[in-house]
């Protein structure tokens, strides 16, 4: 690997994860607030992330196994925000159904316990 290729590859790898994070951020905001630009912004970030993956695979001197790992990571990053979102929503919904009003009292007791004194 040349000196230039080393810096370029490192920057691409950083951009790869950063764009995945931005995709996750906008995806979650879009699900929370339903703003008109949030969903397209999340897709744009993932498209840029995917583009960076293509550049890494086609133009960097990493070996084939490492490139395969990058491709697999790219697919995993696509799934992480929706899977996490669904898990969180289900968790909160089940919690709400299971406890109903008791939940509020339970939280109040917990907080009171944490703050409690002798």
């Amino acid at each position: 690997m040349t000196a230039n290729a080393m810096i370029e590859t490192a920057l691409l790898l950083g951009a790869f994860v950063l764009l995945a994070g931005m995709y996750g951020l906008f995806y979650t905001l879009a699900m929370l607030y339903r703003g008109p630009y949030l969903k397209p912004a999340s897709l744009a970030c993932y498209a840029a992330h995917f583009g960076v993956m293509i550049v890494i695979v086609s133009a960097t001197p990493l070996g084939p196994w490492w490139k395969a790992l990058i491709v697999a990571s790219c697919l995993a990053y696509f799934a992480v925000p929706p899977v996490t979102w669904r898990y969180l929503v289900r968790l909160h919904r089940e919690e709400g159904m299971a406890h109903g009003r008791k939940r509020v009292k339970h939280i109040a007791r917990t907080v009171a316990g944490i703050r409690g004194g002798s």
Binding site: M6, G14, T110
Partner: protein, 467 residues
């Protein structure tokens, strides 16, 4: 207030004092990069660096202990078992830290013999404290473990968070034993030393802060126990699944077999995935409450923790974790950039969040707000971003010029010191370090006065939160 919570406040106060010392020695260390003869033969770079890194580790450890002592009585519904012993150990801990710091500053180094190892410096990076003090730290950690386990045993409540914490305490204490061996084979020494450094920082500490943040979320946002516990289990599984064998990225160049290149690179590449999940969780929890919480500083520092962890550990780490890049980047200012950002995001922000919760609790104020915390929040985070940015530029130039082009020769190292990108990078780091120090001063001012200032200012967010 429980005795344990009063002890927690002492631990958190001590952590803040050490945080300040870490900043002072950090700025001092940054000056040597722009004025290499600064305090030459009086107080050398290596001593400043030792103090900077060791205060970093100890203030976080004290912060974690403080956080657990704060939340534990609420969790078990009773006073912490063995609290008197814990109080004694706190003062022993403080005295040991003060003596070790005095020895590092006044004596600095000794001959290469057993006396130096026991009473001056163990000579192992990050755990330089002399052996007597290392035994003391082990005793403090053991008593802390006893406090947690005994309190859980005596309590009728056994929560999932507490069980995870207890399981985590075993490796937390046992791995510290790795601070003691003095092996003459450098490869073997580094092999085991990384078990302490990596598995503490990227495994046991991650779980510890996970438990602490779970309690913090329950108190801060009223998130239910079932939700935080379920999420904690998932996080623990993912963090351990990727973090334990991520250890391999430290084994690339220390003389270990070649298969570590594949293992270390593979698991390190997976490490950002759970961090992204944590970011989504943080946005979900704060977003569903429209960023409203009584204790606003704690909420913002909790969010900073999630984002800082992802960017500092995830983005910065992934840039340099594959062996092809790491060959050139390891041990440069690039690594320092990653280390600063990752520690800040993963741990420091979390400890500061707990500090605000403890301050609110101790002053019996559910709502905390004002202007000072916003200034300190902005200055500390901007200062950190500037420092890691400067270090990244300097580190990339170092990897490019000194390592890749210069072949890691002494001549290339000397020539690097005059390269514009490198010089500007280390100057930037020093400048933003001063900003960070100003943010620390503002943080201390705020922590000492918040909740004591005029009442109306602090109560407003509570009304918003209730709305």
């Amino acid at each position: 207030m429980y005795r344990s919570q009063r002890l927690a406040l002492k631990y958190l106060a001590a952590a803040m004092v050490l945080f300040g010392l870490m900043v002072v020695f950090g700025i001092l260390a940054s000056i040597y990069y722009v004025h290499p003869t600064f305090l030459l033969n009086t107080f050398n770079f290596n001593t400043a660096k030792i103090l900077h890194i060791n205060t970093l580790i100890i203030w976080h450890l004290m912060g974690f202990f403080g956080a657990v002592y704060w939340f534990l009585p609420g969790e078990t519904g009773r006073e912490v078992e063995g609290i008197a012993l814990a109080e004694i150990m706190f003062w022993i801990f403080c005295a040991a830290v003060a003596i070790v710091a005095a020895v590092f500053i006044l004596v600095q180094y000794g001959a290469s013999d057993e006396f130096s190892l026991w009473f001056i410096n163990q000579g192992r990076k990050y755990v330089e404290a002399p052996r007597w003090a290392a035994i003391g730290i082990l005793a403090v950690a053991t008593v802390f473990g006893y406090n947690v386990v005994a309190s859980a045993v005596k309590s009728t409540r056994r929560s999932g968070i507490l069980m995870v914490l207890i399981l985590d305490l075993v490796p937390l204490v046992v791995l510290y034993l790795d601070a003691f061996p003095a092996m003459t084979d450098m490869s073997k020494d580094l092999f085991w030393w990384w078990w302490l450094v990596h598995l503490w920082v990227e495994a046991t500490w991650e779980i510890l802060i996970g438990c602490i943040m779970a309690w913090a979320l329950m108190e801060l946002l009223g998130t239910s126990r079932r939700v935080v516990e379920s999420w904690l289990y998932v996080e623990v599984a993912l963090v351990l699944g990727t973090g334990i064998l991520g250890l391999g990225h430290h084994y690339f160049w220390i003389g270990t077999p070649g298969y570590w290149l594949g293992i270390g690179g593979f698991f390190s590449a997976l490490e950002p995935l759970p961090l992204l999940g944590m970011v989504i969780h943080a946005i979900y929890d704060s977003g569903t409450r429209h960023l409203r919480a009584g204790n606003r500083p704690a909420l913002y520092w909790t969010l900073a923790e999630a984002f800082g962890n992802f960017i500092g550990a995830g983005v910065w780490g992934f840039m340099m974790t594959l062996p092809q890049i790491n060959l050139y980047s390891h041990g440069t200012q690039w690594t320092a950039s990653h280390g600063h950002f990752a520690f800040w995001g993963a741990y420091s922000c979390g400890v500061i969040a707990v500090l605000y919760l403890a301050v609110g609790g101790s002053r019996e104020r559910k709502a905390l707000d004002g202007r000072a915390w916003k200034w300190s929040f902005a200055m500390l985070n901007l200062g950190m971003l500037g420092m890691v940015g400067g270090l990244l530029v300097a580190g990339m130039d170092q990897a490019f010029f000194e390592r890749a082009l210069g072949g890691s020769t002494w001549g290339a190292f000397i020539a690097l010191q005059h390269r514009p990108w490198y010089v500007e990078g280390v100057w930037t780091r020093m400048g933003f370090g001063v900003l960070f120090a100003a943010g620390y001063a503002m943080l201390m001012y705020d922590l000492l006065t918040i909740g004591k200032r005029r009442r109306g200012e602090a109560e407003e967010p509570l009304k918003e939160a209730a709305a």
